[in-house]
Every structure is written in C-alpha cells, then in structure tokens.
Amino acid sequence: MTTTAMENFLVPDATLFIEMFAFSLVLFAVAKYVLPRLRTAVEARQIEIQAGMAKAAEAEQLEQAAEVEAGLVVGRARHEAADITEQARVVRDAILVEGRRDGRAEYEWMAGRADREMARREEQLRRQFELRATKAAVAAVGQLVGPADLARLTAAIAEALDAPTQSRRPQVPASAARRVTPASRTAVARIISPGPVPTEIVAQPMQGRDETESRSSLWREQEPAVPGVTVELPKVLHS
C-alpha cells in the first residue's frame, strides 16, 4: 500500500465500489431486519389503536346508556323525594294540629290549676288578714279594758264561739254571730292559744306557672290584703 496524492477530485476511483458495497450492506440490513419489524410494530400499534378506538366507542355507548339510565333514576328519585316530602308535610301538619291541641289542653289545665291556686292563696290571705285584724282588735280592747278583763273577755268569746247550740249565742250580738265563720273560729282559737304568730306571709311559687308569673304572684301576695292598711302586731301577743 502506497500513499499517493489525489489527482482529480471529480474522477471516481476504487473507493466508489467500497462505498457502493457499504451502502448496499446498510440497505440490506435496514430492509431486512429493521423495516419489517418496524412495520409490524406500527401495524400492531394501529391494531391496538383501532381496538382502543372500538373500546372507546363502546365505552361511549355505555356512557350514553348510563346517562339515560341515570336520568331515569334521577327522575324516579325526584318523584320519590317529592312523595316523601309530601308525606312529611302531611305528617308535619298532623303533628302540628295534635301539638296545638295538646298544648291548648295543657294550657287550659295549667291555667285552671293556677286559677285554683290563686283562689286558694286569696282565701289564705283573707284568713290571715282576718286573724291579724282580730288580734289587733283584741289588743286594742285589751289596752282599753285591762289584762284581767281581757282574759275574761277572751274566755267569753271562746265560750261563745264554742257554744254547741244556737241558743247559747244570745251573749254575742246577732250581727257578730252572723259574721262568725269557721275561719274566724279557727283564728280565735289560734289567738288564744300560745305560740308565735306569723308576722308576714311567705310567698311560694305556684306550680305550673312560669317564673315571670310566679314572680308576679309573689308581688301580689306581698301586697297588703287591704290596700292602704298596715297591720302592726302588738308585742304582747308574741310574749
């Protein structure tokens, strides 16, 4: 092998055959081993793509069917929901009517009980007022007639009150006898019996009333039984 200078670069030489062989070799390799497999891969991918497209179309149809079914289900559900709502509305109205009726009945019951309690309290206050008035009157009489006469007077009153028959009552004026009531009789008994006398009325909240009404009742019960009259109990009765 000898090295020579290139004489004319446009004239081909033996390198031409080497190049033809080299390119033919590459062409053969590509055409024989690369392109067929490449084409097979492309076709397989196209088949996969077509299968995927078919699946996509099928899925789209399923989706459309599912959408239709979903619409039907939703419509049914809305219809059922409307029925349930209507039933609930009916039940609600019935419960409201029943509740109103029960509430009205309970209200009337509680109001009646409160009225009765108020009447009982008024009666109690009235008795206490009578008791205090009687004590005040007895004290005033005792100051006028003295302790001895007072004891005698008290005994006479007690005897008159405890008289079993109407015939023994002439000692007491007829007008006074007419005003004697069982409460008066009890009051006199309490007067002549030893023991403390309540100086004030302790208000108790009435059951079945709310707090405001109870407070109002307390206020009413702390008022004097007779407006403008204040009863001062004598200390002698406490001793």
């Binding site: 290139m6 080299a22 590509v30």
Partner: protein
C-alpha cells in the same frame, strides 16, 4: 489565484488517497464510511431488538416518523414497490445524514465521506439502479422500454435525462458538502485562531443544517425518481411480477 491555491491545499487536507492492490482508494473516505456504517448498523441492531409496540423510544419514533413521511410521499404505487422505495429512501436519508455529521464526532478527526465524489456517486448509482430495476419489475421489460421509447423521437432526451440523474444527484450532494468543508478550511486558514473560533462554530452549525437538508433532498429526489418510473397502483398489476407492462405511462 488564491482560490486555486486554497482548493488544491484543501483537497490535499481533506482526503488521503492510498494504492491498494493497484487501485486508488481514499482512505479517509473509506474510514469515515466505515464509521457511518458502524453507527447505522448499531442503530439497526438496537432497533431490531428494542422495537416496542406500546412504548417506543426516541430512535424508534424518529425512524417511524421518517418512514411515515416517505410512505406518504410515494404516491399511489403498488405495495411491494412502496416497501422498496421506503427502504431505499429511508436508508439513504439516515446514511447521508450520519455521513454528513460524522466529522462532528469529537476525537476522531474524520472528514465527511459525502465530501468525496466516490460516495455520492456510489449512492446515486445505487439509487438509479434500484429505480430502473424496480420500474422494469413493475412494468415488465416491454413496458419499461415502451416507457422510454414513446414517443420515439424523445428517446434520446429521456436517455440523456436518465444519464444525467445520477450525475446531478452525486454532484449536488458532493458540491455542497465539499464546499462546506472548504469553507471550514478557509476560515481556519485565513483567520487567526483566536478570531476563527466564532466563525468556525457558526459555520459548523450551518454545516449541520446543510447536512440535514441535503439528506432530505437526496431522499426526496430518490422518491420522486421512483414515483416517475413506477406505474400507479390502480393500473399496476396485483403482484409485481405476475402481469408486467400494464402500468400507466408517466411522462
């Protein structure tokens, strides 16, 4: 003239001819072609064993893209001819592309084998041979000759055209790549090294672009030559060798 001096010196720098068994061989061209073949055959082996249907890699995608592009430009030809056209065009494109870029491989100091007329002429001859062989196979020998002899008074022109085709193919590619190599030699020889760095880099980038364009042009012209020589699929025989000579005449 400076141009003649540079060209003579440049040729001497570009190629290194040796005498082998009494024949002149461009050693650098042969080595560069061998490297090109090695790269392409390695890629072919890689593709052969690593082709994937579901998850193609980048090289497979690139080759498939070029294959689809070539298949789309072949026109209505019969399938076997289409496969042959695709094989020749695809191989040409990648071969010329790698050959144009092989001098960019660092550390090897190779020259582009396409800057030698031997490679480009060899490629053109192979292409022309494949075109005529495929046309004769598709049309039949009688139809193939009738294609060139009708009308008879245009036969010399057609013969001249067929003779010019490989020459133009070879000289176009050779001229562009050779001139590009000459430009690089000019830049490196006429400019100071510190100044020549930037023009050298810019021209190398342009050379990369030119190499890709020339590979595309060579493959495209090959497809066009096939397209002009082959009958259309509608008029061609069902198989390549069953009924010859019935293809449509293309001017």
């Amino acid at each position: 003239m400076p141009t003649q001096i540079v060209a003579t010196d440049g040729i001497g720098d570009l190629h290194h001819a040796v005498q082998l068994f009494g024949l002149t061989v461009q050693l650098d061209t042969a080595v560069s072609t061998a490297v090109t073949c090695l790269v392409l055959l390695t890629a072919a082996v890689y593709l052969h064993f690593r082709i994937s249907v579901g998850r193609p890699r980048m090289l497979q995608v690139l080759v498939q893209t070029t294959v689809r592009a070539v298949e789309g430009s072949t026109g209505p030809v019969v399938e076997w001819a289409r496969r042959r056209v695709v094989a020749v065009a695809i191989t040409l494109f990648w071969f010329i592309l790698v050959a144009n870029w092989v001098h960019l491989i660092p550390g090897l100091s190779l020259s582009a084998p396409t800057s030698d007329i031997n490679l480009t002429l060899a490629l053109a001859l192979v292409v022309i041979f494949a075109v005529h062989a495929t046309a004769a196979q598709a049309r039949g020998w009688r139809g193939y000759l009738r294609h060139y002899l009708s009308p008879w008074w245009l036969a010399p022109v057609k013969l001249l055209q067929e003779l010019i085709k490989p020459v133009t193919l070879a000289l176009r590619l050779f001229g562009v790549i050779f001139s590009s190599a000459i430009m690089l030699l000019l830049i490196d020889g006429m400019l100071p090294p510190a100044v020549a760095v930037l023009p050298h880099a810019l021209w190398t980038l342009f050379d990369v672009f030119i190499g890709a364009v020339q590979a595309f042009i060579f493959a495209l012209l090959t497809v066009l030559y096939f397209h002009a020589a082959l009958p259309t699929a509608a008029l061609a025989p069902a198989t390549g060798t069953a009924q010859r000579g019935s293809g449509e005449e293309r001017s």
